[in-house]
Symmetry: C2
């Protein structure tokens, strides 16, 4: 002990909820995290069905929903926008749920990192979120984006944030400080 | 794509179930994995309460159960036994659920690794399992172990396996081959 290594802090710059997949989300000032994800969000749920993202599983396999939440970094989105030659990418356009500022490149957080707000609400990061063409289309609907979808995928790769699931329920508010802790050497459960 | 990198294979050498925590488990020939863990095992459940293992959380906080299952490697247990000067450590004595053979040092699998059996049943590895004194006591009940608990903790550190949760439900049988896949660069969920 201690089993957790504090990496860095950060701050919630924006929160977003949507009631369907593959579309933009709407900004909100706070969200309630249950063990299934963000209450009212289309990506919440105890389980998910595998699809194109899980090609090693038969399509439609019921698996634990480790992709309840999408987290992006304000700084990384700014970097992608700059590389695409556009002014701005709103986190809502790429269907993010949580935009984080000041925590460094979120995309580089390894699986097993915990992010915790002051309410105790905590998120377990499960995997990298890789860019796809749907996000490129959503961006194109909002800005005069001259590039093509493959260009978005190329520039967003490694900067698209991570997905994860709720570890501890609670409330998140825009402006909340976040602790970022890496699971390291946990004492045993014996 | 492909988003998964196959690391290595392995084989289920033993399966173990127990109806209380902090005690040895009993060997079985197969187990049913539900999304909550091994049916009938004391460590199964949708949630867990935090304790000494999660010192950065207030004791008793309800969190997602990422420690449903304990996985150990036959080769690593052999190594610990040798270092302790004893003939053998049975996986049941350290309250393991799954003993794996031929997959290399399980303890070194990073969080986010998936292990999948032929039935499709899959486990998501969540964190390192660190040794504690309870395991030392359980071993001492079974063999003439001359060492003390701190010696077990010292020799077992980094060789004690990992804990995880069920990603895809299904049956595991002793003798099943396992695919070991690392979450790498998943396509996006947009």
């Amino acid at each position: 002990m201690p089993p957790m290594k504090h990496l860095t802090g950060g701050r919630i710059a924006g929160l977003y909820v949507g009631d369907s997949k593959g579309t933009v989300k709407r900004p909100v000032s706070s969200v309630l995290l249950t063990l299934n994800g963000i209450e009212g969000d289309a990506h919440a749920g105890r389980v998910q069905k595998t699809g194109a993202r899980e090609p090693t599983f038969r399509r439609g396999t019921i698996v634990a929903n480790t992709r309840q939440l999408s987290l992006v970094s304000v700084e990384e989105l700014r970097d992608i926008a700059s590389r695409l030659g556009i002014a701005y990418i709103d986190p809502a356009w790429v269907a993010a749920n949580i935009a984080i500022e000041g925590a460094g490149p979120i995309t580089q957080l390894p699986p097993g990192t915990l992010l915790r707000a002051s309410s105790g609400a905590s998120i377990y990061t499960a995997e990298l979120n890789s860019p796809c063409r749907v996000a490129a289309r959503l961006i194109a609907e909002h800005v005069a984006y001259a590039g093509d979808a493959p260009a978005f995928v190329r520039h967003a790769t490694g900067r698209r944030g991570v997905v994860g699931f709720v570890y501890a329920p609670g409330t998140l508010n825009v402006g909340d400080e976040l602790e970022v802790m890496r699971a390291k050497a946990q004492p045993t459960r014996d």
